[in-house]
Symmetry: C2
């Protein structure tokens, strides 16, 4: 196994923020976007980390994303709101929408905020984890450009529409679930293509509807939904909420992040929060979650499994290690960032290891 | 293929209602419960149809379910409520909770009603479809007795916790999704065991954690979650909402429907409704859903597939046919119902075919 250079999280955060501010992204927005990327890297979700800087910069530069965009609340009721991101950075719109859902949940028990006119928001868990600090359950879902064929079809229609749920626990790591509705996140196929690696069979079909292990061909074809017909239906339903309900684009009408460099994405998201306190006592809820976590971790493992893991547990361990040891970057990702640094006059950072 | 006797839906409804009223279930509740069963049969979901009469009758008779139970609303806010079913029939509590969620959604945009102290509620789609008549999106989820091992474990912890979502469409069949979070509904394994049939490999593990095709052994072991680790996490999260949030039992603390004939189930459910009108125009929403349906059905089918189907489409077709031709009953199910008829003095019904 090759040894990758590792960089400090705060160094990467400052570097990315520096690039973005030179692109007319406001200081606060630049720092937020960079934080979502670095947090994804810390959690080991490299497909949604700083590797995305290249395409984000490209889209801002082409005027496809408004770096100074100000999302507007166009409907607002005690439990529900609708935001038009007005083509702002997906992270800016999403963070504000999640904050609003949290405020609503604290006021009336549940909050649900739809977002239209948005852009790629990164890893969904960033937003749901915001709810944890307030002892709320956080929910986030988004549609995504069409890359996945509905069950029974061979042409892409839905995106790998992600779903994240975060649940606070007393004295334990929270449960943090964040999944793509594809068998794998499309970002992993992108990363494999960038690295010239093949992908396991069963991840994707090529353009003709045949299963392929060629990452490049998979990107031209369709990713397969997780869990067969059930996962396919869940992906469709996420688009019903994130795309159709919010008035955003849906299905194949969403602009592709990489392949459509002429138009806006018009993505849609939904953020929701639920206050356990409205159903009973928040402390009791968190205690019961801790009990569930302990009970599940205490189950006998399946054959060949060392330890039963809760959703998010691996990511917390990775984050702990990477905070200490630094974030390993693939040479391609490092080169892309260095190039951006040269172009925008932001000095590249010093590795912390190896 | 053997030809089964078919019975009229309304005859079966009257027959089951007759049995239940003789067990001290109120007329309205008896008719509601029977309707949920017959509707499941009509939709082809025989695992949740009249085959359940045997165990429902048994549990009422043993005093494990209160046939005259009156669910109580113990918390009530504009957007959220909590119901204690007080050990009433799961169908009675669930129908009332869904109605309340619908009322709340019509008033404030979203409604979420948790239920504790409940019993088996049948097929979840019965409740979500109630929202369709009001042009709302309906959501239902429930926990269930522990039969499924979390990903990485070999002992049962979660139930096959179902999730249903129903979405209204303009001039098209609605999207009606109803799934168990297991690879298959446990009811299908029960039905296979009753019929002495084997099950496909990959559905379940035996008590020692080995994949089995023996339906009886599968019922002693653990059903596998759909979609691997992702489906396992979704099942856990459904229990977080349906069990832990509502204050019901959760995980292995839920009383088994069949194996625990001494205690209550204390199941939990969550019902929610969302009014598309709060985000924009309901008609536009329904038109966009119709557009999505047409677009998905217009996709080129995968190899070997005749037609791309939306969630619920097969069930609507089956219901149309069975309304016309009658509901086929397995001999074992018919014999169980006949036996109940003799015992309670309710005359058995005449088949409509073949």
């Amino acid at each position: 196994m090759k040894s990758l250079k590792r960089y400090g999280a705060s160094d990467l955060l400052d570097f990315c923020t520096g690039i973005l501010t030179r692109l007319d992204v406001g200081e606060e927005a630049a720092r937020l976007l960079s934080d979502t990327l670095v947090q994804a890297n810390l959690r080991g979700v490299d497909s949604h980390g700083v590797t995305r800087m290249g395409i984000y910069v490209e889209r801002i530069r082409r005027g496809l994303v408004d770096p100074r965009g100000e999302p507007a609340i166009i409907r607002d009721t005690p439990a529900v709101a609708l935001m038009d991101a007005r083509n702002a950075l997906g992270q800016v719109a999403s963070y504000r929408a999640m904050r609003l859902a949290i405020e609503k949940a604290k006021a009336v028990g549940t909050g649900m905020v739809g977002v239209r006119g948005s852009n790629h928001f990164g890893a969904a868990a960033y937003y749901t984890m915001c709810a944890l600090k307030e002892d709320l359950i956080g929910i986030a879902l988004s549609n995504a450009p069409a890359t996945m064929a509905p069950w029974g079809a061979r042409a892409p229609y839905m995106g790998t529409n992600p779903l994240s749920v975060a649940v606070p626990a007393k004295g334990r790591l929270p449960i943090v679930f964040d999944m793509a509705t594809s068998i794998v996140a499309r970002g992993k196929i992108i990363l494999a293509a960038q690295k010239g690696e093949s992908i396991p069979g069963g991840w994707a079909m090529d353009a003709e509807g045949r299963i392929t292990t060629d990452a490049e061909k998979a990107l031209e074809g369709a990713v397969l939904p997780f869990g067969g017909a059930k996962g396919s239906a869940i992906a469709i339903l996420i688009d019903v909420f994130a795309g159709i309900l919010t008035g955003a684009a849906f299905g194949p009408h969403i602009g592709d992040l990489y392949r459509n460099l002429e138009g806006r994405q018009n993505l849609g998201h939904v953020f929701a929060a639920v206050d356990p306190g409205v159903f009973g006592d928040t402390d009791e809820f968190k205690n019961r979650i801790a009990q569930m976590i302990d009970e599940i971790k205490g189950l006998p493992p399946a054959y060949g499994v060392e330890e039963v893991l809760l959703p998010g547990e691996i990511e917390f361990r990775t984050a702990e290690r990477r905070r200490r040891e630094g974030i390993p970057l693939e040479p391609e990702v490092e080169e892309m960032l260095r190039r951006l640094g040269r172009e925008f006059g932001v000095p590249w950072i010093t590795p912390v290891g190896p």
